[in-house]
């Protein structure tokens, strides 16, 4: 399950940032991906929500610190 989430999430990241060299891990943060700014964050959140059929709360969107936290929320809701 966790592997599967990681794989699907990676595909979403590659699409949004148009970069096939991206390999996200639990520790990946916005600092690790060059184009990951606040504007891209909006698109990324939308894309992840669609891919996994989940909705993040406003609080989660603004406090998520790394990909691991995102994966945990997905695993919990999915």
């Amino acid at each position: 399950m966790a592997d599967n989430i990681n794989e699907r999430l990676n595909e979403v990241f590659r699409n949004v940032f148009d970069d096939d060299s991206i390999n996200v891990t639990r520790e990946t943060t916005a600092d690790d991906i060059e184009d990951w700014d606040s504007l891209e964050h909006i698109r990324l959140i939308g894309a992840v929500e669609r891919e996994f059929g989940v909705r993040f709360t406003m609080k989660e969107v603004s406090t998520m610190k790394n990909v691991g936290e995102m994966m945990d929320i997905i695993a919990e809701r999915g």
Binding site: N15, V16, R43, G46, A47
Partner: protein
């Protein structure tokens, strides 16, 4: 690759826009560059990136200026060096309900207070438009307002003086009045777009509170697509022709197999009514100047019999060209384009058969080929693509079908003459060739943006630019109208020359292909030479800038007797002609009589 128009997947546009943009830019299409200033009352980044994708698909490569967050009014109202330097070709003002929410009257407000709140809001926008139109002399596109996310008084909100629904509807009406009264001003109707999407989906508190987007992020592409329709229309990227299949596209069934009595059209069955509705829709398009042709695998007699079905709406006479034969459809379309003297990129092909659509898409990629899978979706699919978005509407648009029909008749008459000069004389052509005058400004600007083939410099002018060239005294401007025994062609040629001492530099020379080989270009040259003589001008300078489409006029100046004086590595050429002893070339068209 994402689909080229409606229906599109908004999530795909948003998420994969970088990839889509990269692929579009690499596809080898020659695009016109345009500067688009987006003055936003909320976040505009995603609106701009979706707009970019849609414009690239229409052959326009945009560069953008975006105002700082919610600085649209300041950007417009105060001197702005950056914006002026940017030289916008279009200004798009992206405001929404969020920009007027704070000014909606309280439910307890008096009638007078409500009226003054309305006038005050309208004035706030009107002052901005007035200034932009006069300072930047380019088209201005302004959002109207979507309906609010909630109604304090419930249904009463739509009629009570203080109702927010009434306020927005009335303000939208005032915006529309301004648009009707001002050239170069256009409404991006987000009131309609948000209704199509659904207000509950459109309004998104999270998108507003967190990102300051006026609508949900995933509906942004619908908004951007609607703006792109207006912009591509302004820059002459509209389609002109609907090439139609017949069986199961214009009626249910196969006329060759089922017979005229057997096809479904009319009100007998649900399917029949569906097709009648679609024919009615097409007839309305035709009535505003969209041209219809047939591309059908059928015997000609059967096709015509089907179009004469007593319950049908479209008649054989409604079509410029009917190709009903057993040739492949891509070849029929190419032949039709040739007969009509139009680029293949002016065509939209409608066919219920996915195999035919795939063939045409592959063989003629410039043709728009929307999916037509279910008759009850036909109208929506064609309509939402905005192929024929009407930004400016000239009398010529209404006459277009007659003009193209007359062309076919002229071609028939031509076969009766062995001497071409005799034929031209038989047409009894009369031209009006005069300096630009106010009634034709719109048509002239439209022509500069639409003409690609017989166009020496392919310079585009907005209407305000045309007006300023006409007024400035340093230019010779000429429009040419041509009439003959078969009808009036309207304004078909435009020439602009910049005067510098004894030299006139021809900045623009274009002619509509509908009057090719009529010697109209000679009539224009003669008149230009006459104008020059009056002003003591002794020399003409011409330029030819090659594009993918204007190869036909590469040697025009040579034909005119000019001498080539330079040529650069891109094939741009310069030509000169001494006017002393100029002899008129046209002897078949009567000018200004």
């Amino acid at each position: 690759m994402a689909s080229a128009g409606y229906p599109f997947d908004p999530a795909e546009i948003t998420e994969k826009r970088k990839r889509i943009k990269r692929e579009l830019l690499a596809d080898g299409t020659k695009r016109i560059k345009k500067n688009i200033a987006v003055l936003g009352g909320s976040t505009t980044n995603d609106i701009v990136s979706a707009l970019e994708v849609f414009l690239l698909r229409e052959g326009i490569e945009p560069a953008f200026y975006q105002s700082e967050y919610n600085r649209f009014w300041q950007d417009a109202m105060f001197e702005n060096a950056e914006l002026r330097e940017f030289k916008p070709d279009v200004i798009f003002i992206h405001t929404s309900y969020r920009n007027i929410a704070a000014f909606l009257p309280a439910a307890s407000a008096s009638k007078e207070d409500c009226e003054s709140a309305l006038n005050e809001r309208f004035d706030y926008y009107r002052r901005m438009w007035d200034r932009l139109l006069s300072e930047y002399a380019c088209p201005v596109v302004q959002n109207n307002f979507e309906l609010p996310p909630y109604r304090i008084m419930g249904n009463r909100d739509c009629f009570d003086n203080a109702g927010s629904v009434r306020f927005i509807n009335t303000l939208n009406g005032m915006f529309a009045d301004y648009a009707r009264e001002h050239q170069g001003f256009y409404i991006n109707d987000i009131n309609y777009v948000s209704s199509c999407v659904g207000l509950d989906r459109w309004h998104d508190e999270k998108a507003w509170c967190m990102y300051k987007y006026c609508c949900a992020v995933d509906v942004i592409p619908y908004l951007s697509f609607n703006v792109s329709r207006i912009i591509k229309s302004l820059f002459g990227r509209n389609k002109k022709v609907l090439a139609l299949d017949l069986d199961n596209t214009l009626w249910g069934g196969v006329v060759g197999d089922d017979g005229v009595e057997g096809i479904e059209i009319g009100e007998e069955t649900g399917t029949a009514e569906c097709f009648k509705g679609f024919q009615t829709y097409l007839k309305k398009q035709k009535d505003i100047g969209i041209m219809l042709t047939v591309a059908s695998k059928n015997d000609h007699e059967n096709a015509v019999a089907g179009l004469n079905h007593p319950e049908g709406v479209l008649r054989p006479d409604d079509f410029i060209v009917i190709k009903a034969n057993w040739e492949t459809k891509d070849r029929n379309l190419a032949a039709t384009a040739k007969e009509m003297d139009l680029g293949i990129d002016s065509f939209v092909f409608l066919d219920d058969n996915p195999t035919e659509r795939a063939l045409v898409s592959r063989s003629l990629p410039a043709v728009s080929v929307p999916p037509m899978d279910s008759p009850d979706e036909y109208i929506r699919t064609v309509d939402k693509n905005g192929y024929f978005e009407v930004t400016n509407f000239s009398a010529d648009d209404l006459k277009r079908n007659d003009m193209y029909k007359a062309n076919v008749k002229r071609a028939e008459q031509m076969t009766e003459f062995t001497d071409y000069h005799e034929y031209l004389l038989s047409l009894d052509m009369r031209a009006e060739i005069l300096p630009f005058s106010p009634v034709y400004m719109q048509r002239i600007s439209q022509l500069t943006n639409k003409s690609n083939q017989f166009n020496l410099t392919t310079r585009r002018y907005t209407q305000p630019e045309i007006e300023s060239v006409a007024a400035d005294g340093n230019h010779i401007t000429l429009y040419g109208k041509l009439e003959d025994t078969f009808g009036d062609n309207g304004v078909v040629s435009v020439v602009i020359g910049a005067v510098d001492g004894a030299v006139c530099d021809i900045e623009l020379w274009l002619m509509s292909c509908r009057v090719l080989k009529k010697n109209m270009e000679y009539a224009m040259l003669d008149t230009l030479a006459g104008e020059c003589a009056k002003r003591g001008i002794t020399e003409l300078v011409g330029h030819y800038y090659p594009t993918a489409k204007n190869g036909m006029v590469k040697e025009l100046y040579s034909d005119f007797g000019f001498t080539k004086t330079s040529e650069d590595e891109n094939g741009n050429t310069e030509w000169r002609l001494k006017l002393e002893g100029y002899k008129n070339r046209n002897d078949v068209i009567k000018i200004n009589q």
